[in-house]
């Protein structure tokens, strides 16, 4: 049943996504694009773009979007509950342990190992979405211009994305 599948898949994504944000993308891609083909790779990148210009955590945005596409509002609900449940369970457990023993060393040691892996996860995500993102030479120009705008001139990411959308409409429609 699709609702159970959505819940289970996003439960897994919630349980194994550390570091939040972009670090979740390879896992979401593997499950949603790779295992289930619920989205195409191009749709997946569009979802990332949408997540950047809408409020809230990327994982919630992804769950709601994919759930809606597959099974309407109830699909959204199933997927979103799935992605939130591990947070509830794990964080409550950690909070109780933390309050009782005042000890987080082993969790932090594990996290010290996970953090550099998160860098690798984001690199892998970039590697995977690069080919479908580059449609023409002008795509490289947009990439370089965005990088320059946000690094050098501290342009807000949302403004940068909207500018790229306007450029896209001028260039490609």
């Amino acid at each position: 049943m699709i609702y159970v599948q959505l819940f289970k898949t996003f439960f897994k994504i919630g349980l194994f996504s550390f570091g939040g944000g972009y670090a979740m993308l390879p896992l979401i891609q593997k499950e949603i694009v790779g295992n289930y083909s619920w989205l195409t790779l191009a749709e997946f990148i569009d979802l990332v773009a949408i997540s950047q210009v809408t409020p809230g955590p990327i994982a919630i945005n992804a769950a709601t979007f994919v759930g809606y596409k597959m099974a309407g509002i109830f699909g959204s609900t199933a997927a979103t509950c799935g992605v939130v449940t591990p947070s509830l369970l794990v964080v409550l457990t950690l909070t109780l342990l933390f309050v009782r023993y005042n000890r987080l060393e082993s969790v932090q040691a594990a996290f010290a190992g996970i953090r550099p892996a998160v860098v690798a996860l984001i690199v892998a995500a970039i590697w995977n979405i690069l080919p479908p993102s580059i449609q023409a030479f002008s795509s490289w120009v947009i990439l370089a211009a965005t990088l320059l705008a946000i690094r050098r001139f501290r342009v807000h990411p949302i403004l940068a994305i909207f500018s790229a959308a306007v450029l896209g409409i001028c260039l490609y429609s």
Partner: protein, 208 residues
């Protein structure tokens, strides 16, 4: 990091948010933070520490430590911890619902529009323009995260190894994360020269 110093009873005296108070606080947090993750922290602090003084600053810092050490979106984790501390299970559920609802509603509206307009040439063109910009944002983010994370040879080795496992061997990301966590645990217990299991009794001793 001494949360046990705060007697639960004094926390209740400090401020008594109702579940609906927590719901509305986290609803505004969820509705006004873009990009997720750490961008939400200043807003959460403003709402819970400055405006309502439900939490003290050192409690808030402890909260962040737990939120970062757990899987899942940081904003949701913060909602669970703050909600639980201030209103037990009911508070945690109310806060999570508040933090989740704005993006849930907005994304349903956007998905309904996008899935209908996906083939519209203007929408197509806009997204074709946005994709390389997203790649640029991610490059920028990974540069920042890498700079603050990869500070030792071990960290660099884990990152490189993980890239190879992910891209060359195409190992499932979950396995890569589990492997990295195990290496972290091994390195942690090696560094302290104390097996992790016995440190529980040490900690209890420290508390008294």
């Amino acid at each position: 990091m001494n949360i046990t110093d705060h007697d639960p009873k004094t926390e209740v005296v400090l401020g008594k948010p109702t579940p609906s108070g927590l719901f509305w606080s986290f609803l505004s947090i969820g509705a006004f933070t873009f990009g997720g993750g750490y961008a939400m922290l200043p807003l959460i602090r403003k709402s819970l520490v400055e405006k309502s003084s439900w939490l003290q600053d050192d409690e808030f810092v402890d909260t962040i430590a737990v939120a970062q050490s757990a899987p899942g979106p940081i904003a949701v984790n913060m909602a669970v911890i703050c909600g639980y501390k201030l209103g037990a299970i009911k508070g945690a559920l109310a806060a999570v619902l508040g933090a989740t609802l704005p993006s849930f509603v907005i994304l349903i509206v956007v998905a309904a529009f996008f899935l209908g307009a996906q083939d519209n040439p203007f929408v197509r063109a806009a997204f074709t323009g946005m994709r390389p910009a997203i790649v640029a944002l991610m490059i920028s983010a990974v540069y920042d995260i890498g700079k603050s994370t990869i500070k030792s040879r071990l960290a660099a080795a884990i990152a490189l190894g993980a890239i190879v496992l992910l891209l060359v061997i195409e190992l499932h990301p979950v396995l890569v994360i589990v492997a990295a966590a195990l290496i972290g645990l091994a390195a942690g217990s090696y560094r302290s020269h104390v097996p992790i299991r016995t440190s529980t009794s040490n900690d209890r001793g420290d508390n008294t």
